[in-house]
Symmetry: C2
Subunit: 115 residues, 2 copies
């Protein structure tokens, strides 16, 4: 087996790293699923995820917005009405989440089966 | 859309979390690919990944071993000879890495295209 040097290694990993960065972390997927399940207001999302602080939720929503997985809409009302929805683009994640879900389910059986 | 409560959310995410825990982090995939590319001795792996310390490499190899993605073989020699190889089981990751790679490649274009 030929030895591939570090640069090729890193280059090959970049897209995988990009994908993991968009969805990994303690809260991102929880927030994404909470919004896709009908929690569209900030307080609703916050209440639906025990343990998350407003500060962390605001930061994670911002990042999910930058990754174009969540859309923030401000309605012209007094006070302003802000709603979060999942984007059409975010549905492209389905394949990734399904692959992770299938592998994770088998992995748990394989590892738990040993302990 | 019905509002799903937190417990169902968490339950649904568990397998995905298990999968992400096995492969995420700065070094795991780099180490996995380095070993699968023919770096089988500790020093070889260490040299092939600039910036990683021996302490971190030892810890990450241990975790990859616990996840049964890497196998550690000790040969009866003086001094003892230790080799790391990827396991047959780890090939099941292929589908996940492929899905992440495809999504990450498109995601980079979509996000970079905007900046």
């Amino acid at each position: 087996m030929n030895k591939v040097d570090h640069k090729d290694c890193l280059g090959a990993l970049l897209p995988i790293r990009d994908a993991l960065d968009a969805i990994h972390g303690k809260w991102k997927l929880l927030i994404y699923i909470a919004v896709s399940n009908g929690n569209n207001r900030f307080r609703e999302i916050e209440r639906s995820i025990p343990g998350i602080s407003s500060k962390v939720l605001a930061k994670e929503l911002k990042e999910l917005e930058e990754h174009q997985l969540i859309k923030r809409t401000v309605y012209d009302a007094t006070p302003a009405l802000v709603e979060y929805t999942v984007t059409e683009y975010s549905k492209s994640l389905e394949v990734v989440l399904q692959a992770l879900n299938t592998w994770g389910t088998n992995h748990r059986k394989k590892i738990m089966g040993k302990r």
